[in-house]
């Protein structure tokens, strides 16, 4: 992204994670070096001692009528609630704006898998009689973004992406383009992931509970991206100004340094670096910054496929006015993202 067409700013953000509701509880744990990870219930962990970043505090009924909550899968509940928080935080009054100019782009990890497993379990156990039609619509990955758009009346561009540990960054890139092109004035961009016991069993079968899926986290983070003109018009504080997004799909053997340079550039003048996905496990990326300038939320709330927006929001909250920061995200088999921004007004 080179913002030659329309400048993009961030006017709000929020999250629901194992740490609690909003970014502040996560930031406090991060600053204390504490963690919100808890033990996976023994019955879900095949008897093993595992940890996860489960958002146990989340109660859908705190955010929506119980009847509505019953129609949504867990990912949709969390995403819809987080979208509402982000909209409020950014001071957006959808009813007094053109809803066709407000869109949503979400990265999704395992969203929809819980409903898929429940629907199939009914079918495998009881045949056609065991099928629950109500479960089927929310088996799709885009259920979270679509349910959030329905609840909040967002009629602009609507997209969901899944791309390994960079799912949220993938959505954010697309959301920025929609604003640059003038397809939207405001885009909610973020990531959603959920945890359920069957996923843990799958991780164990694949052996991933000892590697990248150890301490898996769930939750949702949403960034409110907005054209600078729109933010000016609304007269709202600017939390950050995006300057550049870069991405590389693969870094094949022998081409890693060239790929890294394409991803990060020279990193001149960067005060803070945040790491998402598996970027904190890559010495070629972490080594670019002194330890006291780096932050990673994985030890606090767990690692997940769509954690990027939560990590980015936490970094923005930690970045002072006009400080330059970089968010780096990676997946073991690619892709890789870097997002540069300047800090703005604190929330």
């Amino acid at each position: 992204m080179n913002n030659t067409e329309r400048k993009i700013v961030i006017t709000g953000y929020s999250a629901i994670t194992a740490a609690g509701t909003g970014i502040t509880p996560l930031q406090e744990l991060l600053s204390r070096g504490a963690s919100a990870l808890t033990s996976v219930p023994v019955e879900s962990a095949d008897g093993q001692q595992l940890m996860w970043g489960h958002a146990s505090h989340f109660k859908a009924a705190d955010f929506m009528p119980p009847l509505k909550a019953r129609k949504l899968d867990r990912s949709s509940q969390i995403a819809t609630a987080t979208a509402g928080l982000a909209i409020r935080e950014a001071g957006i009054d959808v009813k007094n704006l053109n809803p066709e100019r407000i869109g949503i782009a979400m990265g999704c990890g395992f969203g929809g898998i819980g409903n898929s497993a429940e629907f199939l379990t009914g079918f495998f156990n009881s045949g056609a009689e065991g099928m629950t039609p109500l479960l089927f619509p929310n088996t799709v990955s885009n259920a979270s973004a679509s349910n959030a758009s329905i609840e909040h009346g967002l009629k602009g561009p609507n997209v969901t992406m899944v791309q390994r540990f960079c799912s949220a960054e993938s959505a954010l890139l697309m959301a920025c383009r929609f604003i640059e092109q003038g397809r939207a004035d405001i885009m909610l961009a973020g990531g959603i992931d959920e945890l359920n016991p069957l996923m843990i069993k799958g991780f164990i079968d694949l052996g991933q509970h000892k590697s990248l899926a150890s301490c898996f986290g769930e939750g949702c983070g949403i960034i409110v991206l907005e054209s600078a003109e729109s933010a000016d018009r609304r007269g709202v504080p600017v939390r950050a100004r995006l300057t550049e997004i870069r991405t590389v799909g693969l870094m094949p053997a022998g081409m890693e340094e060239e790929g890294r340079l394409r991803l990060t550039g020279d990193c001149h003048g960067i005060s803070r670096a945040g790491f998402s996905g598996t970027a904190d496990l890559m010495p070629s990326l972490t080594g670019l910054f002194a330890e006291d300038r780096r932050q990673s939320i994985a030890p606090v709330v767990g690692r997940s496929l769509a954690m990027g927006a939560t990590a980015l929001a936490t970094l923005i909250a930690s970045t002072g006015p006009d400080e330059k920061a970089i968010h780096l995200a990676a997946s073991p088999e690619g892709p890789y993202f870097s997002i540069c921004f300047h800090g703005g007004t604190s929330a």
């Binding site: 885009n142 758009s149 967002l154 609507n158 992406m161 899944v162 590389v248 496929l305 892709p335």
Partner: protein, 401 residues
Amino acid sequence: MTIKRVAITGIGVFCGAGKGIKAFNQALQEGVSGIGTIDLIDTTPFTTSIGAQVKAYDPSCYFSPHELRRLSRADQFGLIAADEALQDSGVRDHYAPWDLGVSMGAGAAGMFQSEFWLKARLEGGQASPALLRGLLPDRTTTEIAQRFKLCGYQGSITTACSSSATAIGWGADLIATGRQKAVLAGGSDTLSVLTYAGFNSLKVVDVNPCSPFSLGRNGISLGEGAACLVLENEETAQRRGAKIHGYVLGYALAGEAFHMTAPEPTGTTAARVMAAAIKTAGIAPEEVGWVNAHGTGTPLNDVVESNAMKTVFGERVSQVPLVSTKAMTGHCLGAAGAIEALATLLSLEQGFIPQTLNFRGRDPECDLDYCHGGRRDSDCRIALSNSFAFGGNITTLVLGK
């Protein structure tokens, strides 16, 4: 707002209606449907037993045993279609790996294999964990990127039935912005117990081959497959002497914000998206020759789409055929948009409008020209391709020759 002309320089397909461009094109020209009895999954619990399955498929003809241990059926189809498209374009010989991206749409992805793992678990048995490797819909994209060394952008759109249409539009954006010099864009999806049982549970699957826009239509026929397009900047494609099949002239997308499964009944958002796509292409509605419909064959969808056409084209609507190729390909869900974009492109390229198959009678609520009588010659240069999805996700592509 306009996007630069993005050329399509490579095409590939592998689906129930045709394994490869030659077979698919023949089916399209002759109006031959790929819908028939399926044997990939056990259909005895359901009232329906048909679909557009990829038949007579021997994976070992395409992949080694080692590769097959980790590739889902969706990955396999995607790789086969990608290979055909990349060979057709020859694009890999002309650009650095960093300049080549991949943008795929996906749906149920590797669910078909993963279902065996779940069933075994429920029965107290053991199943190979490798069955889970393709569960997430991004796997096909990564497999394609790795196999063909496409080191640039790597992304997967997952908006159910509009996924791969959006993936093509987004791929065109990546070219138009100069982020990539070439992008492989498309989609791959397969039949699975989840989708077959799911749509049956909603009672939207026709017991007979689907008959879009016909009287007495009673729902969809499911299908499977993959289609890929290679997208490039027109100028650089011409400079390297590439064969240009056609162009992605523009696209638009939006969420209806109405209901997870039911379309907004007036078709207002569908019309808005079609009009916005026409605008991004920098053309007038009068330049659109025909529209490849989402056209699922469900009673409500076909009426809504017909109504949206009237809003967009006004008095001229009777001169703009609305054609559904789903009666030929089945509804390929995450791959539907790409397969239909390809059908649109081939038809434009060869100067005809394809037939909407399986006509059962004229529905007074579907009162447009649907090409039910047979394919017809056409010299039009531009057509739209519509894709609607669960969640109200709507995408329209503008394709030209």
